[in-house]
Amino acid sequence: MTVLRVGMCPGLSHDLINALQSAGIRTVEHLVSTNIEELAQKCSFSYKALMAVRRVLLAQHTAFPVFGLDLYEELLCSTAILSTGNPSLDKLLDSGLYTGEITELSGGPGSGKTQVCFGVAVNISCRLKHGVLYIDTSGGMSAGRLLQMVQAQIPGAAEQMAALQRIHVYKALDAFSLLACLQEWRAAGLQLMSAGSSVKAVLVDSLSALFSHLVGGRQSNGMSMMMQVAGELKLLSKDFGVAVLVTNHVTRDSSGVLKSGLGHSWSHVPHNRVLLQKVERPGSHTCLRVAELTKSSRQPCHLQEELDISYSKNLNPENQPVTS
């Protein structure tokens, strides 16, 4: 609902706005949907002037239809597939994270979601040499660990520092600051945020820390904020051509089966969902996890892969680690 303001279009003068307000019309939608003849009789303005204003406002505010073929061609040139740095995860996600899509990673505490996010950030920064925006909501970011992972991939100190400079970390410790952050990026453009290097991924770790206590109660305010965040993330991914990765916690339903948190409404938002679980091997603690694909636009569901989250060796396709 856009309020009518002076200067929105030529012909929308102060007198016209006052006359429209006295006739009970305050917003663009209201003006466009009323009968202009009756309106011209109520206010002292001519039918022609009102029709001209209406035409310009309609042109400014309508959405344009696009042919499917044009959309497909645009998708082919603008979509990129970003490898996550972990070959098994890439296989699960049909070669990696797609720009323009939201991927969700959920798992219990200690299951490795933050490590996988670090791996994605480091891979995009070191190998693909693009910028990454990392939003940390729960204090899990450790720059020392990022440095360790970068050192495993790149030998020289100067390149390591350059790779670290391409990863930008933001702290959003409550829902309002997260929304403010995302809206500011949409207004200013992501390039300004990263001082030059093109941003290809936005990581939010973790979304559930901010919203799990707001949804599920009797008030719907929390749900509305979560859906606004979902909308902002989708707009960001489409408008700026970035891949979005968010992390989520897990809960158990009444029969004891693991499922991702944040409820039913959130489950429709991500395009792809991966569930991480620890591998139950008695005795030792391993760095192996099992990833299951629970929702995907392209692959059949319930595919499983074993992941190694130590990121200590160079996990590129030329030398696959041997998993026992």
Binding site: A143, L146, H213
Partner: protein
Amino acid sequence: MLRTVASSSLAPSVKAKLIRAGFCSVADLQELRPGQLSKEVGVSQEEAAEILKTLHTDALPVNDGGLVARGVTALELLQREQAQGSIVTFCSALDSALGGGVPVGKTMEVCGPPGVGKTQLCIQLAVDVQIPMCFGGLKGQSLYIDTEGSFMVERVVDVARAAVEHCSLLAEDAEQQKAMKEFTVEKILSCLFLMRCHDYVKLLAQSYLLPSFLSEHPEVRLIVIDSIAYPFRRDFEDFSHRTRLLNALAQHLNQLATQHNVAIVLTNQMTTKVWNGQSKMVPALGESWGHAAAQRLILYWEGARRLAVLSKSSRPDGGHCCHTRSLWSAHTPTP
């Protein structure tokens, strides 16, 4: 700026009135005076002035070194992390598993069965944070929030005396000798603040008063809540309400740790989980509480030895380490 009215921190009823009057984004409201706003929206003039003030403060950047507004590169964050210290525990195996000690600026949870030493570890940390900087410590103060009544001043005196003795044995140059003159048992006790909370309402209220406490005492570098499980495990019929309160408290504590640069240590109890005919000891307060702290240390018994496992941290080794009874004896803390 594309800040929408729906995303601002106003009350839901006020937001509904603003949206019904046709205001979509914050920019629409910026040129209005309170009188005009109250006429258009249908609220009193004081409420309109309040609305404009809230929106104005929302738009100001938060003063915390640019982490929220501007963001920092990972390189700058690395330099900041390396400049920040960590709090030693005087058990070398535990310190090396934690990467030097308990990190400042993050929350850590310590879980374990009764008697394994959680309160002792907390008391040790509350003393160790006060070690002078020339010995590698942080020279900070500590706040101990006791919910179970397990805090014993006599034990603190023992640990403080041992720490002072240990440091005086290490003192070599003039600067360290000078620092030792101030590092006495009385000074340690006077820099340890104690709060007692007997139920969860008092604990939650106290946590909301912590920001002003930390602003008045900027030298506090450690907050211990011992234990966080006890007030939440009794008198709660509605578990989903408890989960929501705990998640809100966890996020609030994370916010405090980051903004005021303090380490927060929480102790938790253990409970038995029966699953598929087997029973296992798991940390209490439910599965979603596991996401609250950035690091989780689980202490357990193996025969007569105490072992510690870092079950959640930013390092993926899942390090196992062991520490023995002599750790917190009054006489010789093992360096």
